[in-house]
Subunit: 236 residues, 2 copies
């Protein structure tokens, strides 16, 4: 199967969770908006006033006649096809449940620099961002990452499903990468509290296909337009 | 099947999207935490340090040997079983995609009164809440509700799937109800821009099982602890 991924070409963003799953599986995919005319093709799909199943926002994936949006939904669809989630219902729903919790965490991480609105600049909400970031690190990071550490502790292996890698593990890798980029000092202090999660991150970074991807031009570097942004004043 | 729903007993919250689907189907379910000892039972499940598949937060649903968390995931599971989503994959994923977009909108609605952090009181983030609410109504409500209006326009019927009611329609009903409670003046001015969505809301309110539910003690009234809260100063 040839997959067409549609996502903003300048950022990792939410598309990156899908890219990592496709890369780990060695899947054949086109990152459409990064090719010539790709952004126009993506925008055309989004703005189609007559579309019966329009996506609300990128990322979305074309797979044959299917067009699927919402990051966690795309991963749910791809999981059994890429061998990165179980085929049986209970296991598939469990990985999806974890992915939805990762999505919630990613959203809260994003909101540290944009607590008031995505339609205002960071500079217009800097004071609020400082307060949000303080609460985020005091309450939310320990709660979310503590939860995933517990899942790994009880899984019977070193992945969320036990021994078998899933797309949720890849997404946790990305969440850790992003926190390290956005909050290097805070994260350095925090990591000792979630050793299993950090070990999972490090193993994933060394998987051959992921390592090759991270070293390639296909991996867009972190920057100041994505979910994870570095502001020294927020990384106290 | 006897379902056990676990959710905070004082609020509609995210649990309400599941309750509406169960009520419309006439399903046999127990709202566990509203019974004697129910909150303790719920908390015990959440705090079980050895659980292999712990929920991160309520709502969660026990269905036989399954324990499923995350609102959209619960609805995805229930959909075909309650007759409120298609059984075939493409249709089931489309309804789920819509539900995930509704979840995003619900989250942003909640954040109008808690933009800085859920761990601070409203009174500690009132100024930020005013700015967030202004942007929410200027940018986000038109974008989200305009999107759902487009979906209804193109569906070939008066539900998101066309003629057949789905749990996403019930969730849209609840989103409209909530906005009317939290922002009565703003919503009154806005509604003329999304006539199909309002018509859908009104039809659902008159469906026999939903009308009976809304009139019953099972429906927890809106209050100041849930997702939707009324602050006169935010409803300019």
């Amino acid at each position: 199967m040839r997959y067409e991924l549609y996502y903003w070409p300048e950022i990792q963003g939410r598309g990156e969770f899908v890219r990592l799953a496709l890369e780990e599986a060695g899947a054949y995919y086109i990152d459409v908006a990064r090719g010539a005319g790709g952004v126009a093709a993506m925008t055309k799909i989004m703005n189609d006033a007559r579309a019966r199943h329009p996506p609300f926002a990128p990322p979305f994936l074309r797979a044959g006649k299917h067009m699927i949006a919402q990051t966690a939904n795309i991963l749910f669809y791809l999981g059994p096809r890429l061998g990165s989630s179980p085929r049986e219902e209970a296991g598939r729903l469990w990985v999806h449940q974890l992915q939805l919790t990762i999505s919630d965490f990613v959203e809260e991480t994003h909101d540290t620099h944009h607590p008031i609105s995505v339609s205002l600049y960071y500079e217009e909400q800097r004071a609020a961002a400082k307060r949000t970031t303080a609460e985020f690190w005091k309450e939310r990071v320990p709660k979310f990452l503590g939860y995933f550490e517990r899942v790994l502790t009880n899984s019977g292996g070193n992945c969320v499903l036990g021994r078998k890698l899933s797309y949720a593990d890849l997404s946790l890798f990305q969440a850790i990468e992003g926190l390290r980029y956005a909050f290097p000092k805070r994260m350095k202090r925090f990591e000792r509290r979630v050793p299993r999660l950090i070990a999972l991150h490090d193993r994933i970074a060394h998987r051959p296909r992921i390592a090759a991807y991270l070293a390639s031009e296909r991996r867009i570097p972190f920057n100041q337009w994505g979910i994870y942004r570095y502001y020294a004043e927020l990384d106290a």
